[in-house]
């Protein structure tokens, strides 16, 4: 027997109370893990942004287009190294509910600006040569079981084909992966020439431009130069860093991080009160036993540590169980194609685990410190005198 044995025995002496407390903590950490993974999924785009990449959008809204001539004008601005551009296709496969993220791009410059996309040279060349070709991310390929050479019909919920309908036939010429495991590969890229030639209306335009400066310190100057270049034009621009662009994109849905944090904090505050109250009650119930321990010669600080550790143990048991179930759930959800399309980076990362462990320790300390202090300062004579 040792102190840990006593702590364990005290914790499990009232099984129902322990299970209910554990369950309350379990729920809080289940929420933390599950919502934390969603926040991570949203934040991944921001975190993986290159610090020397800028995004140029129409100042009115990024849903407004800009003339394709902007590409060369921006390329000519001092400090700009590489430029590419893209348009939103609004794609789906067979049925509108099978949404597919497809961008209309200039293949060569796009791959040049996004070197983190890994595509074998042979596939790269094949895509450059075939206007009907598309490259697809490995996550997307996995979702639909597509492989090289497959002919796939992709429809648009925005555009229509000049030969009727809104479906474009495409050939899978490449399957790309990402150099960072957290990067999203749940999308596909289409040749801009094929699209422009076959669309039923509209000219050549771009949705947004992406460029590199080669040095983050130049970002500010280059941004200002670009926006100044198009000031007072019919399509004024707003240039931001890629990270800021991605963050603004996410914030269309609201301040996800704040919402998630608020939900988690509300849950934790409630749990703090429930478990804290329960621990106080538990220690009060065994005041006499604590007095006996002190009478036997257990020093008060040792009794303090035992009560505090009991509370910590409770928080860790409930917390780890909650996080493990959250991990299991999130892994299950991330394997679902429907969810993976919305949250391509859904996972509980080490950062969320570290946060959870910190919260477990904090919860344990906060719920344990008051009863532990009561045990520390317990008047032995008074406690022993109680029937």
């Amino acid at each position: 027997m040792n102190d840990f044995y006593l702590i364990r025995k005290n914790l499990t002496r009232n099984r129902l109370r322990m299970i209910l407390n554990c369950f309350a903590i379990f729920i809080a950490f289940l929420l933390l893990g599950a919502l934390g993974s969603i926040r991570n999924a949203f934040d991944a785009g921001v975190e993986l942004s290159a610090d020397d990449r800028l995004v140029v959008v129409n100042k009115i809204s990024f849903t407004q287009t800009m003339p394709v001539a902007y590409v060369n004008k921006i390329r000519a601005i001092e400090g700009v190294q590489k430029v590419t551009w893209a348009n939103w296709f609004g794609g789906y496969f067979q049925e509108p509910r099978n949404m597919v993220v497809m961008l209309i791009v200039d293949p060569e410059s796009y791959l040049d600006v996004y070197p983190e996309m890994i595509l074998p040279d042979s596939q790269r060349e094949a895509w450059f040569k075939n206007r009907q070709g598309v490259i697809i991310g490995e996550a997307l390929a996995l979702t639909y079981g597509w492989s090289l050479g497959d002919r796939i019909p992709i429809s648009s919920n925005i555009f229509s084909h000049k030969e009727g309908g809104s479906t474009w036939e495409m050939v899978v010429e490449g399957i790309f992966s990402a150099s960072n495991g957290r990067a999203d590969t749940n999308y596909m890229l289409m040749h801009h020439t094929y699209f422009f030639e076959t669309q039923s209306y509209g000219g050549e335009w771009v949705g947004w431009l992406t460029l590199t400066t080669g040095d983050p310190e130049k970002n500010e100057v280059v941004s200002r130069a670009i926006d100044a270049e198009f000031a007072n034009s019919s399509a004024e621009t707003e240039t931001t860093t890629e990270a800021a662009f991605n963050r603004a994109f996410i914030e269309q849905f609201g301040n996800i991080s704040l919402i998630i944090q608020s939900v988690v904090m509300a849950a934790f505050f409630t749990i703090l009160l429930i478990v804290g109250n329960s621990m106080v009650l538990s220690v009060r119930e065994r005041a006499k036993e604590i007095a006996v321990l002190k009478t036997l010669g257990f020093p008060a600080p040792r009794v303090f540590r035992m009560v505090l550790f009991e509370s910590l143990l409770l928080a860790v048991i409930g917390g780890v169980l909650g996080m493990l179930v959250a991990q299991f759930m999130v892994e299950g959800m991330s394997n679902s194609p429907q969810i993976a399309r919305i949250f391509p980076n859904l996972a509980i990362d080490s950062g969320t685990w570290a946060t959870a462990l910190t919260y477990m320790v904090l919860l344990g300390l906060l719920t344990g410190v008051f009863p532990a202090y009561r045990a520390l300062t317990l008047n032995t004579i008074t406690a022993l005198g109680k029937g």
């Binding site: 044995y5 006593l6 002496r13 321990l293 009478t295 036997l296 020093p299 004579i381 029937g387």
Partner: protein, 230 residues
């Protein structure tokens, strides 16, 4: 080594009850020799338990000195007093005060957690203590599975397992029937006679007091009578 284990010199103890100060002891002097078996009797509120608590270092006098083996204990800090209690004192309470979630053996082992002993040595000591009180067969039972007398014997085993010099017993038979009380008192007498344990027992029961070698009667903080067994 002196024969005197305890020397109480000019002990004063003041309580505040409500707004009124109540003086329990007003200059009490007392000497307890090594190997004594003393019973302390007296009406409720006479200061029996307070005296026992002060002898055990659980309570402190308002004024005066308590010497244990020549060492002043009333001036020790909480940490040192806890160590001193663990080394020298065994407590036996009226209501046993066993840990309900621990088996008899684990309850007995509790004081040994305060000593640097191997698990094997602790087990040996626990077995010896339980054997001495005749409860070897009940080692794995929890308090709720034991009778009152058996629980008190577990409490005695817990008190003696670390081989203390003194056993302080607060009404050890107060919650037991006569037959069981007799067994417990015989246990205590055996510990006093065979193992030379100094025993100080507070009791209301004259029969229990008769097992002691010396009976003291306390009233209003003073010893008013002293009976020494033949």
């Amino acid at each position: 080594m002196s024969d005197n284990l305890y020397e109480l010199k000019d002990i004063h103890k003041l309580f505040v009850k409500g707004r009124e100060p109540v003086e329990i002891f007003d200059g009490l002097n007392m000497t307890i020799k090594r190997g004594d078996f003393i019973s302390i009797m007296g009406p409720s509120g006479s200061g029996k338990t307070t005296l026992l608590n002060m002898l055990g270092g659980v309570d402190k006098p308002t004024q005066g000195k308590i010497l244990f083996d020549g060492q002043e204990i009333q001036s020790l800090g909480e940490g040192k007093l806890a160590k001193w209690r663990a080394a020298h004192i065994g407590f036996i309470f009226q209501f046993y005060n066993l840990m309900p979630m621990l088996t008899a053996a684990k309850n007995v082992e509790l004081p040994l957690l305060l000593k640097k002993l191997s698990a094997k040595k602790r087990k040996e000591n626990v077995e010896a203590a339980l054997a001495l009180v005749g409860l070897s067969e009940r080692a794995k039972h929890r308090p709720s599975e034991l009778s009152g007398g058996q629980q008190q014997r577990v409490a005695i085993a817990r008190a003696i397992v670390s081989d203390p010099d003194v056993l302080l017993c607060d009404e050890p038979t107060g919650d037991l029937d006569r037959a069981t009380a007799t067994e417990i008192l015989e246990n205590l007498q055996q510990l006093n006679r065979e193992f030379n344990k100094t025993i100080i027992m507070v009791t209301h029961d004259p029969v229990a007091a008769s097992y002691a070698s010396t009976s003291l009667h306390l009233d209003k903080g003073e010893f008013v009578e002293r009976d020494v067994a033949a």
